[in-house]
Each structure stands twice: as C-alpha cells, then as structure tokens.
C-alpha cells in the first residue's frame, strides 16, 4: 500500500491508538449529533405518517410554502408572501426566487403545482390527504406566483400548508425521496446507514440565511438505558425527545448538560368507547373522568413532567380554555354518578400501547378506578395490534394514547373515529371553524369546541405530554417546544 515506511508506521500507531481508545480531537464544533428514539421508515414526509420522518427532514431538508415557527406560529417559507381574496377562496402566493433543489434543479411555481396535485391526487399515499381536500385547483401564474383556489373557505389553510406532509418536492426526484430525499432546505441528505443514523450536510447554495452547522447526524437509539449511556459518554450532543424522564435529574446536576423542558402537541387521553354500553351513558364517562387523579399520573408515570388538561387542546395555544376543574379528582362524586347510572361491579378492558405514558399511566389509572369500584382489565398491545384492534375494530372500552398531531380537535367530528363520538353539534362547530377566517371568531369557535367535548365527557383528559430534552450545555438554538414533530436544526449552533 503505502511506500513510505514512516507514514506506514504513523498509520499503524494511529490505528493502535484508535484500538486503545485514544481518539484524536474532532476537527471543530461545527457538527452536531442528535439522538432520536425511533428511526424513520423512509425519508419522504409526503408518503407516510411516522413522526420520525419529520423529525429528521422537516425544515432541514424539505420546506413548504409556509412553516411552523418554534412557538407554533405560521411563518413564510418558500412563499415570501401571500394574498387572500375577500371571499377566502383564492390564495395567491409569491414565491422566493433563486431557490434550488439539492440536485441543482430550479424551484418554481410548477413544482408547487406538481407537489400539491400529487398530494391530493387519486393515487396519493399522503397520510394527511385530508389537509388538501378543499383545494379546487392550483394554477401557475408565472414562475414565482402560484394561485390556489379552494372549493370552500378554509381558515386553517395556511396552517395546513405548514405540515411536513405539504412540503414541496420536484417532479424529477419525488419518487426517490423515500431513500434519497431531495428538497430545498438548508441541509441536504448525505447518507443513511439503516438502523444506525442519517447524515445531513450543509447545502451551500441555500436560498435563505446560511446555517451554522456543517453536518448534522441523527442517531437512532431506541433503548432508554442506551440513550443515557450515549449522552453520558459524549457520543451524542443532544437528545431532544429524551425517552427516560427518570434520568433528567441526573443531567440537571451535571454542568456539562442542559435540560430542556418544553411543551408538545401531545394530548394524552384515556380514550373511551362512546358507543359501547355502559360507556354510551354520559354519567359513566363522567364518573370515570372524576375518578382520575391527573397529578398522580404525571408524578407516577412521567416523573412530574406534563401539564394537566381538561379537554383536547394544547395549553400553550392562545385559544386554550382550562377545563380541568370540570373533571376534577373526586372519587365520592364518581361513586355517586355510577350509582345514579345504575352501574355496579363494572369491569372494563384497558388496552395499552407500548409508550411508557400508556404502560405506566395505565397501572395507576387501573388503581384509581378500583377505588371507585371499577375493575380495569389491562392488556398490553403493540402499536400495530393497537391500530387493528382498538383503532380499526373498536374492540376496547378504555385505552391510553397521546394524540400528537398539531390542532387535531377535528378528530372529534369524525364519525368512525375510534372513540366514536361524531356528535352533530360538534360537527357544526367544526364546519363553522372551517369557514371562519377572522381570528377572534376562530378563537371563539375553538373554545366552543373544547367546551363541547369536555361537557360531553367524550374521553378522560389526562395531560399534555412534555417535551423533555437533554443537550450539551454549549449547544444552543434547539426548539424548546414542539409545535410539530421536528428537530429544526436551522438555528442550532455551538457557543463557547
């Protein structure tokens, strides 16, 4: 191989050094390695629902016309501005010029038309196809102007366009995005070692403000103990969705790390089968809601991290109404309600998916229900089984699940949704909300929706999932909250 004996010796010494564990200092603090619990199944946010896809590519590799800011606000992205017609039916977007895809091809209004038509088309496998249901047509006005016409006004349209499922892709590369994503974002895809990591590198021709990091590596570590070891050993620079809240105290005590506690979009609920007797009786549902001590679940299952909620809405949202008092912990009232409903010796099935909020929370809830005379029979299920058995077949009484999609209160308007509510009055509120574009009117309707489902005790509302993260104390700019499931690395940088 090498002819120079000195070089050969140096190489051997270096190899020996590596073998013995002497790692040469890494070049500079321009790279970041981020831990994630789940590996994305593919890297195409328009072709699957896994949150892990967005956690890697959202805002980093792919961009939409609009985007979520760190606080959940809707910001311009590929569209620099827009105009909405008086009747709320026509949206005219002005696009940034000089934007290129990572394969060098140009971005223009044709790409927007292609992406949106593809997402809403008949053969679309876009998991959030419903986001585009109101689009009547997408028209290219000129290369930097695109006009979208809706069939009816939709107050959430700009919000819908900010979702990962609505990112803009190019016709040339769209089919390959699952394995080799080509977007317009500040980072381009470099390598995916399946089961281990995805590497991104800075895209030098990015149209917007340049990012500070040269490389970002997302490393997939599913085991909580392994995640702890990897942070402690310095293999990772941050773990934004850190899976073991029990270790956070230890990180807090260590000056090498900063602990980031924010809010997420995850409303964790005790889902009830509203059509199955005796849960079709509102008194029984109300009794269950009053039997639950939320703080005990937060303390016992989540090590104190989480915010109690009384309805299906994120507390950090300006339109949130605190309705926790309406279903306050009151075992005596709970027993009275059960007596009033004429229910005794009630045995209910409680099906728990794998996350710890469900498995640990379920044990505590079963104990709390026992106090008021309800026996909860716990069955642990895998996600795929949960989808079949609970979600599709509705073969359950109670279940615990965190609904992590942003602004997903509309699921209560769906007839066939697993908790089987689909109340006509609620649907009317949702229809009005779709029509409304005035912010004050929208707030009023969103609050009416929150109150309606709390009044009907559709589910027992437990807590808003906290976003618990750990990072190297010198790494700045990570999101505190997660308005959508993303690890937006565009503002992340090292500080001395």
């Amino acid at each position: 191989m090498t002819k120079n004996p000195i070089a050969a010796a140096a190489v051997s010494i270096l190899a020996l050094g590596l073998a013995l564990g002497v790692t040469p200092a890494t070049a500079a603090g321009m790279d970041a390695t981020i831990g994630m619990q789940l590996e994305p199944p593919n890297l195409d946010p328009t072709g699957g629902a896994a949150a892990a896809i967005d956690e890697v590519v959202y805002a980093n590799v792919f961009e939409g016309l609009t985007r979520f800011g760190p606080d959940g606000a809707i910001l311009p992205a590929l569209a620099e501005s827009w105009e909405i017609s008086e009747d709320g039916l026509t949206y005219t977007f002005k696009l940034h010029s000089g934007v290129t895809f990572h394969d060098g091809s140009g971005f223009d209004a044709e790409d927007v038309k292609f992406s949106l038509d593809r997402a809403r088309g008949d053969e679309s496998t876009n998991a959030q196809k419903a986001l585009f249901a109101d689009i009547a047509s997408v028209d290219v006005v000129d290369p930097t102007t695109v006009k979208i016409t809706l069939s009816k006004p939709n107050g959430s349209f700009l919000f819908n366009l900010a979702w990962g499922d609505a990112v803009i892709v190019a016709p040339e590369s769209a089919d390959g995005n699952a394995a080799n994503p080509v977007g317009t974002g500040p980072f381009k895809f470099a390598e995916w070692v399946k089961g281990d990591r995805v590497d991104l590198e800075r895209y030098p021709d990015y149209w917007g403000a340049a990012v500070k990091l040269d490389h970002v590596t997302f490393k997939f570590i599913s085991d909580p103990t392994a995640a702890f070891a990897a942070m402690m050993a310095g293999d990772l620079d941050a773990f934004p969705g850190y899976p073991a809240p029990e270790n956070l105290v230890q990180f807090e005590a260590d000056p090498r790390f900063s602990v980031i506690i924010g809010s997420s979009e995850g409303e964790t609920i005790l889902g009830m089968n509203n059509k199955k007797p005796p849960l079709d009786n509102i008194l029984v549902r109300q009794a269950i809601a009053h039997a639950i001590d939320r703080q005990a679940i937060i303390d016992g299952a989540m090590f104190g991290y989480g915010t109690p909620i009384g309805t299906h809405f994120a507390p950090h949202n300006p339109a949130y109404v605190d309705l926790t008092a309406q279903s306050a912990y009151d075992p005596e009232q709970s027993k009275a309600l059960l007596a009033e409903a004429g229910v005794s010796d009630l045995t209910l099935s409680l099906k728990l998916p794998p996350p710890s909020y469900a498995r640990r929370g379920g044990e505590i809830i079963a104990a709390q229900l026992r106090e008021v005379g309800i026996t909860a029979e716990i069955t642990n299920v895998e996600w795929a089984q949960w989808l079949d058995d609970v979600f599709k077949a509705k073969n359950f009484d109670l279940t615990i699940v965190s609904h992590t999609e942003p602004m997903d209160i509309d699921i209560y308007g769906r007839d066939d949704y697993y908790f089987q509510y689909g109340d006509p009055d609620f649907k009317a509120i949702m229809a009005d909300l779709d029509q409304a574009t005035d912010p004050a009117k929208r707030t009023e309707l969103m609050q009416a929706a929150q109150t309606k489902i709390a009044d009907d005790y559709v589910n027992a509302y437990l807590f808003q999932l906290a976003r618990t993260g750990v990072a190297d104390a010198k790494l700045k700019g990570l999101w505190l909250n997660s308005p959508t499931q993303a690890n937006d690395m565009t503002g992340v940088h090292w500080e001395e």
Binding site: A15, L16, L18, A19, L20, G21, E39, P41, N42, G48, A49, A50, D122, E123, S124, T125, N126, A127, Q128, K129, A130, A178, A179, V193, K194, G195, D196, R197, K219, F220, I221, S222, D223, T225, A226, A229, A230, M232, A233, G234, D235, P354, E382, W383, A384, Q385, L387, D388, D389, F391, K392, V401, H403, E405, D408, I411, Y418
Partner: protein
C-alpha cells in the same frame, strides 16, 4: 460418506421448505396491517387503500406465498414495506455487523474457555480448578445485558475509552470498527465462555477416566502427554455441539446486546420489523436464520464425523 451426505442434504432441503411455509403462515396470522401502521392514526382511508395496493397486500394468500418462495429461489427477498429498499440489501448490511460480532464473540469465548477448561480438568480439585469453576458459575449466572451495561458504565462513561455504542461502519477503518464491536463481543462472549469451559472440563474429565486413557498412561505417557495426545480430541465432540449451538444463538440472539449497544445488527432489524409489521423483512430474516442454523448443524455433524470416525461408520 456420499450417501450420508445426500441424506443429510435432502433433510436440509425439506426442513427449509417446511420452515418457509410455517413462517409465512405464522406471519399472516399476526394481527396488524402493515399499511395502516405506516400511515398512522390520522391517515386518510383512501391513502391507506392506495398503499395496500402498492405493497401488493391485496393479493391472495397462496399467490403471495408462491411469489415469495419463487423470489427466494432467485435470491430476491422482495422490497421492505417500511424502508422501500430490497430486503436483501438490508440483510446484507446487517449481516456485516452481526456475523463479525458473532465470530468475534465466539473467538473470544473459545480463547477463554479452552485453556480454562483444560486447566480445570487437568488439575481436578486444585485451587485453579475451584477458581475456574467459581468464575464460570458467575459467568453463567450474570445476565449478559447487565454485564454489558457494567462494561458501558466503566469503559464508556467513566474511562471514555470506548463509545457507549453504535457502529461507525467498516468504511471507517478496520480497527475503528473492531473497537466498536469489542465491548459487545466481550459481553456476548462471557456467558458463552463460561458454559463452554464447564463443558470442556467435564468432557475432558469423563475422557480421562476412560479405559484407553489408562492404557495410554500404562504405555508410559505422562498425564499431560496423554491428555494432549488422546483425551482432547475425544473430548471435543460435546464442545463442538455447544459451539454450533452458540453460533446460531449468537447470530440471532444478540438482539439484547444489540439494543444495549445500539448496534444495527440482524437481531435489531427483526425486532424493529416486527413492531413495524414489516412482515416481508421478518419472514426473510427468519428463513435465513433457519437456513443458518440448519447449515451449522450440518457442519457440526460433519465435524463430529471428522473428530470421531466411529460416527461415520455407524451412519453408513
């Protein structure tokens, strides 16, 4: 010997066919639709239906089985539902980690077990024997994932000599890769070495008590000469059986260790594929493991025959 070989090959082939059918049917009976898993709980039903069509999940059961087997015969394992890349590619990547890890662990385990077993057997009831037996007792009793975590705690978190886990890839250089596999290999090897050392010891002791050993001693060989020349070869048969079993066990069963060290190996691939209902991956890896086990058993049988000519004669 040829007839023996042919008979063995035929039974190997039949086992594989039976295994493929059982695996396929078991996978079909598992609840959970791959398409709805991929699309999540807010998914549009139309989009889920489109995906099912795309993945070929709407075809009939026999058609899908035959399609799978026909593919296997041509070395085509199909395309992963979740990753959307050829399954063979996925498996090949993972085998590049699991196989070296298994061999590394087996080598370590043999290197520890043989001398320890021979030492203990040749000096029966001495202090050396007692300490080997004590240590192996401990090695068998300690769960390997716990031992793995202790290794991480000491060598990765406190001393910082090793990474806590992960695999840099063989492109990163041979030593870097070997280094990443060292702690996992030690964690895997320790219990195996303990078992192997105990088997080695008792097998040797049994052999040492045989008549032909007395004859050898009577001919004037010293105790250790007799051991090395005659006993060792005869004592190897049970040890080979254990080694063969350990190979299959380690290849598929390294999953816990792969989780502790977050190594992207075969075990973790199957585990992940099961939870994601990537049934085509599960099927293919399982049939491959069955194949590996059958082949290793076959090779161990051949090795028996080589170690002990009597076995060859009996089977003819």
């Amino acid at each position: 010997m040829t007839a023996y070989l042919l008979r063995r090959l035929l039974s190997l082939w039949l086992s594989l066919v039976a295994a493929s059918l059982v695996i396929f049917l078991v996978m079909e009976a598992v609840p959970g639709d791959p398409a709805s898993f991929m699309m999540g709980i807010n998914a549009d039903p139309q989009a889920v239906a489109a995906l099912r069509l795309q993945l070929g999940l709407d075809e009939s059961l026999p058609l899908r089985y035959l399609g799978w087997v026909a593919g296997l015969l041509q070395g085509d394992f199909g395309v992963s539902y979740t990753y959307r890349v050829p399954v063979s590619e996925l498996i090949a990547e993972r085998v590049m980690i699991s196989l070296p890890l298994t061999l590394y662990a087996l080598a370590l385990s043999t290197l520890i077990a043989f001398p320890a077993g021979i030492l203990a057997a040749s000096r029966r009831n001495s202090a050396a024997d007692l300490s080997v037996m004590g240590a192996t007792q401990l090695g068998v009793a300690i769960p390997n994932f716990w031992f793995a975590m202790i290794l991480v705690l000491i060598f990765a978190i406190n001393l910082r000599w090793f990474s806590a886990g992960g695999f840099p890839g063989w492109d990163a250089g041979f030593w870097t890769a070997i280094k990443a596999l060292t702690l996992p290999a030690i964690a895997l090897a320790l219990p195996q070495a303990s078992i192997l050392a105990r088997v080695m010891r008792s097998s040797l002791i049994d052999t040492l008590d045989e008549d032909f050993m007395r004859t050898a001693r009577a001919k004037g060989l010293s105790r250790s000469q007799a051991l090395w020349r005659h006993a060792l070869r005869n004592a190897l048969i049970p040890v080979l059986t254990i080694l063969g079993l350990q190979f299959s066990f380690l290849l598929a069963g390294g999953i816990i260790i792969e989780n502790v060290f977050y190594l992207p190996g075969l075990g973790r691939l199957v585990f992940q594929a099961i939870t994601q209902r990537d049934l085509i991956v599960v099927r293919s890896v399982v049939i491959l493991l069955v194949f590996a086990v059958i082949v290793v058993t076959f090779l161990v049988d051949l090795a028996y025959a080589a170690a002990d000519p009597r076995l060859r004669r009996h089977r003819r």
